[in-house]
């Protein structure tokens, strides 16, 4: 291939990619711009394309009070804490639950094993939305509305995690565990000292995916938490959008939005390699 024939094609590739990146970044950039002006500037419908001078006060107000003249909300620090707790509890819970189940299914032989496996497997076919009202009723009957348990436990089961760990475990050589058994290690000891270290890359990958999944939950927290101080950040922002959207403290809404996006975006960018691996692995 000559130099001349390669160059124009690559310019095309750069162009396409630049346009793609621009379309993805533009709304986030404008949200940031919105968070640096005062409410009046935005309200006039003449938002400049460059940052204004109200950055610090907008962010401080959203973080500490969460409310302005025309928008009422929970302070961002409370909502961020709620989202963080929810995301971590869901991720850790889901990983533990599916890790234990996969360990049992792969390394033990017991009556009902296949039945349990299929029972876990069918959860793939039942998204929350198709069982939402009865699920809500179960949580409410247990008195778990407005509790962390009610918010997280129903989201802790998914077949994906169990299937992923099952696949990982099946690649672990049997001899490794046999050797440990001869050395006198019991099943829990083997889980802790052999399986967990070997499964670490998958656990890390799954954690990133599930953290983002947990942070982004919408319908379930919307139903389960009715107290304002339990609002997660995603719910909180949508609640801020009142009915008359032009008469809003958009500067505070956008400051909140930027802070809400920062956490999961940082996680995805920092752990990009694990995320990509994990996604591609789980869907095999």
């Amino acid at each position: 291939m000559t130099r001349r024939s390669r160059r124009p094609r690559n310019i095309g590739a750069h162009l396409v990619l630049l346009v793609g990146v621009a379309v993805l970044v533009f709304p986030v950039y404008m949200a940031f711009i919105g968070s640096t002006h005062d409410a009046a500037t935005i309200g006039r419908g003449r938002l400049p394309l460059t940052p204004g001078s109200h950055l610090a006060e907008n962010y401080v107000q959203a973080w500490v009070y969460g409310t302005g003249e025309r928008v009422s909300g929970t302070p961002v620090r409370v909502m961020m804490a709620n989202s963080l707790v929810m995301a971590i509890v869901i991720a850790v819970g889901k990983i533990s639950v599916s890790l234990l189940a996969a360990y049992a299914v792969v390394f033990f032989r017991f009556p009902g094993r296949m039945f349990f496996f299929w029972l876990i497997f069918i959860t793939l076919m039942l998204p929350l939305e198709v069982r939402i009202i009865p699920s809500y009723k179960v949580v409410s009957d247990f008195g778990l509305l407005n509790t962390l348990a009610g918010l997280t436990i129903p989201l802790m089961v998914s077949a994906t995690g169990t299937l992923l760990f099952r696949q990982v475990f099946m690649t672990i050589p049997k001899e490794l565990l046999d050797a440990a058994k001869i050395d006198g290690a019991g099943p829990m000891r083997c889980l802790w000292s052999i399986i967990l270290p070997l499964g670490r890359p998958s656990i890390a990958a799954l954690f990133v995916i599930l953290f983002v999944y947990g942070w982004n939950q919408y319908l379930w927290p919307l139903l389960i938490t009715t107290e304002r101080n339990m609002d997660t950040i995603v719910i909180g922002i949508v609640k801020m959008l009142g009915t008359s959207e032009s008469l809003m403290d958009w500067n505070l809404v956008m400051a909140t939005t930027v802070m809400a996006m920062a956490v999961p975006i940082a996680v995805v960018i920092l752990f990009q390699k694990w995320l990509v691996q994990g996604l591609v692995e789980t869907e095999k």
């Binding site: 590739a13 379309v23 419908g45 234990l100 189940a101 049992a104 009865p134 129903p154 099946m170």
Partner: protein, 294 residues
């Protein structure tokens, strides 16, 4: 799974699967069974009398023009989201896969929207298209287009599609890129030696090899458009104006939690359940085939 049993404890395996089984039974199996059961009953508004009505709730739904409208809308919506998100991300993945400068930076810059909830994507686009303050809305109005998605159903639908696609592109991008990386370079070079142009090599060698990824993404994008976009619709339009953006899932939510038509919404759940089972079965059939293919 043969030949892997290592331990012979009697009780321990049951303890290990117990958490998963308990939560699955309580929050998956029981609610799903409840939904099916409720869909066959009819209660009066006060819940005093309940009687078995067989498939009457389903018959009523399929005779209801609003429900039929929401089915049509859901398929139109998910078709538009899946088609647009898949083609855009395929184009971006093919370009990012080329040996160009800064390919790694491009990849990072195209992956991060994966981190955002559909509702957050909706808030970002709302800020741009809100009729009186959004800068893109203002630009459209200056151009003489009467942009107000709170009044025009078509515009509302377009905005929800835009936000949903915008968020989904990076997910598809990740899978297409992985699919492209798995294709041996020698295959493409062989095609070129045989005189194929790049374009020809793409459509006759690369694209067919990406077919499993594409089919998988069609299923995932359809599920995403049906279920996960609830947040985007709730943040942007709440199903309106009129019923212009009331998809099947949004209608289920409105009927169940706002109008308290529990039996009808249970029947709607069952219909959606059947749909997901069909999609999953489709996907697994295809994965079977992929096993033979490779």
């Amino acid at each position: 799974m043969k030949g892997h049993a290592t331990f012979s404890n009697k009780l321990l395996p049951y303890l290990l699967v117990a958490p998963q089984i308990v939560v699955t039974s309580l929050f998956f199996v029981w609610p799903a069974a409840q939904a099916i059961y409720q869909s066959l009953l009819r209660s009066d508004p006060f819940g005093l009398h309940t009687k078995f009505v067989g498939l009457d709730n389903f018959r009523a739904l399929f005779a209801d023009p609003y429900y039929l409208g929401s089915i049509r809308l859901s398929f139109l919506f998910s078709g538009a989201v899946a088609l647009t998100a898949i083609s855009v991300s395929l184009l971006l993945a093919v370009m990012a896969h080329k040996p160009i400068r800064g390919a790694r930076v491009y990849k990072t810059l195209l992956i991060w929207p994966y981190a955002l909830a559909p509702a957050m994507a909706a808030v970002l686009w709302l800020f741009l298209f809100q009729p009186s303050i959004g800068i893109l809305a203002q630009a459209l109005q200056h151009a003489g287009i009467g942009w107000n998605y709170t009044l025009h159903g078509g515009q509302a639908l377009l905005l929800v599609i835009l936000a949903s696609v915008w968020k989904q592109v990076s997910y598809n991008f990740i899978f297409f890129l992985a699919g492209l990386q798995a294709i041996p370079k020698s295959l493409i070079e062989a095609a070129k030696v045989d005189g194929a142009t790049s374009r020809r090599a793409f459509w006759s060698v690369v694209f067919p090899l990406l077919a499993p990824t594409t089919f998988f993404l069609v299923v995932m994008n359809t599920v995403y458009a049906f279920f996960d976009t609830f947040g985007a619709i709730d943040a942007l339009t709440k199903g309106g104006p009129g019923k212009a953006t009331e998809t099947m899932v949004y209608k289920l939510y409105v009927d169940g939690f706002k109008n308290f038509r529990l039996n009808s919404s249970a029947a709607q759940s069952v219909i959606l359940m059947a749909l997901v089972i069909l999609l999953t079965a489709f996907q697994f059939r295809f994965i079977e085939r992929r096993v033979h293919y490779v």
